[in-house]
């Protein structure tokens, strides 16, 4: 491996590492602000997902991989999204009682 190739391989890793460290600091800072429910949770989740996306795309080499690999990754993401969405469909609608429901 030439020095140039070696350099080009490590540069994006370094940039991603810096980005992850910055986002970690942002996580800590954001935890000290109270945005109210549910925004505090959503902000923390957004930062965490951003970090996960960086790891998957760069450290796990999904960026630049074949469409099949990307499809496999998205299958997992969609699977988790289904789990969260349908579970939340329970929690988010429990507060709606029959009396509150719009009358037909």
């Amino acid at each position: 491996m030439s020095e140039h190739e070696h350099h080009s391989l490590w540069k994006p890793y370094g940039q991603v590492l810096v980005a992850l460290l910055v986002l970690t600091v942002v996580t800590v800072v954001a935890a000290n602000f109270h945005f109210g429910t549910p925004w505090s949770d959503l902000v923390a989740l957004f930062i965490a997902l951003s970090k996960a996306a960086l790891v998957v795309a760069f450290f796990m080499h999904v960026k630049g991989s074949t469409r099949l690999i990307k499809f496999a990754v998205w299958t997992g993401v969609i699977g988790i999204a289904i789990f969260f969405a349908l579970t939340l469909s329970d929690y988010a609608t429990r507060v709606i009682t029959y009396v509150d429901a719009p009358r037909m």
Binding site: T75, G76, I82, F83, L86, T87, S89, D90, T93, I96
Partner: protein
Amino acid sequence: MQATASAATPEAVRPPRHHYLNVDYGLRSWLLTTDHKRIGILYLLSITFFFAVGGIYATLIRLELLTPQGDLVSSDTYNRLFTMHGVMMIFFFLVPSIPAVLGNFLIPLMIGAKDVAFPKLNLASWYMYMIGAGLTMYSLLHGGVDTGWTFYTPFSSSYSNSFVAATALGIFVNGFSSIFTGLNFLVTIHRMRAPGMTWFRLPLFIWSHYATSLIMVLGTPVLAITLVLLFLERVFQIGFFDPALGGDPVLFQHFFWFYSHPAVYIMILPSLGVISEIVAAFARKPIFGYKFVALASMGIAILGFLVWGHHLFLSSQSAYAALVFSVLTMLIAVPSAIKVFNWMATLYRGSIEYSTPMFYALGFIGLFTIGGLTGLMLGTLGIDVHVHDTYFVVAHFHYIMVGGALMGYLGGLHYWWPKITGRLYSGFWSHLSALLVFLGFNLTFFPQFILGYLGMPRRYHVYPPEFQVLHVLSTAGASILAVGYLLPMVYFIWSLKYGDYAGRNPWGAVGLEWQATSPPALHNFEEIPVVDFEPYQYKGAPVAQRLPYRIAKYGA
């Protein structure tokens, strides 16, 4: 199939001089093998053992329920009996049954490959299975678990005095076995198909295993997470599910059923694949609507992830979420029905041969249909309120898991036994066993529909005397069922020494696995086959492919 004794065995049906069974004989050669066929045999022996363990628990349950008093075991012991029956049968028999035994053995053969994509990972999956089973056996030998196989919190995490943590750890480790197998199959099917083996030339057995593998890879990690959370709450009192610790018990049910409902499809989808192979082979017709049957497997796998909430209708889940889950549950009947109707259409005007595998396949279709339709009843909110946690549910899932998954497994085992061992088994005894299984199964579980509808709750061993007749019928059926299960163990073992040689293709079936020798060679094929034909081309299949004794008996 009748294993007739023949003095002079034609050379064509003699097993090859070298095959996977005689390539080496030492114990080490089996325990360190990376041959997919040998790993399939390792799984066959292991799951048969754990099926027997689960069967012993079932026997004790049925004996206890003979009388209304609850006089054989205490309530606490009874709780442990049905829990360990469920744990053993689901995690250590049904989930690995067809994929790990028949799938491991057949997938490379059916797609024209020499082995699976990751042979060492394949062996590792068997070791993970054995370690998980060992941990669970440890808890079993020390008294077992009393939570039910569903491990509902907060009882399992905070109150049960049984071996919950050890069992959860055993199932956690066993989950890796499932993930390894699923991952291996996905990569094998994607990357190792023989030249010309396009997606729509794949046998339906392969399609069903592809769909199953997706569930294994996507669902099993969630079970692992669930068990870790349960373990943390039980051992370290970190609150996830116990309200006393700030948790939510219904959240556990969401986590658990997100895996465990798709796990039903891990059990049943491979059976659907087996039945497609058998129906086509013994109706001697191409599968009606091949593409629809193939894509129905994918439909079942995907929709299977959207319906878990129907287990929570009465667990304080939101009524609106319950409505959504009820509708989604109805949807999954569509791909299931596509398969049943297409099998029927395949049988229509087919040249049907009532071989033992076909007995199992026809039995499967009937039982799976009953199990599926009662599933729709349970997915209907109003009916579920009435029969929730009754024997109606017990009967329903046994029609799917035993009437469906187990019948498919036995059908597949009978269909491919000549390929696996190179030997034929007794026609008479195998027919008898299939009949006993079918009759015994219905006598065991049909009365349970009535029991449940009348209000008999599940997981109770003391019951009102008016239910005794139905319970006695059920126990009598279980006795017949047990004989039906024991018979194959006898004639399969008998066939290893005394059965006639099978030859490459005793059924005159199409498919690459039947082009290999019986038993297959170490690397399956003399040379990698080239596929230039469509699947299930039975019309006009040359009779000469049939077993010589059949030609002698029925004429060519």
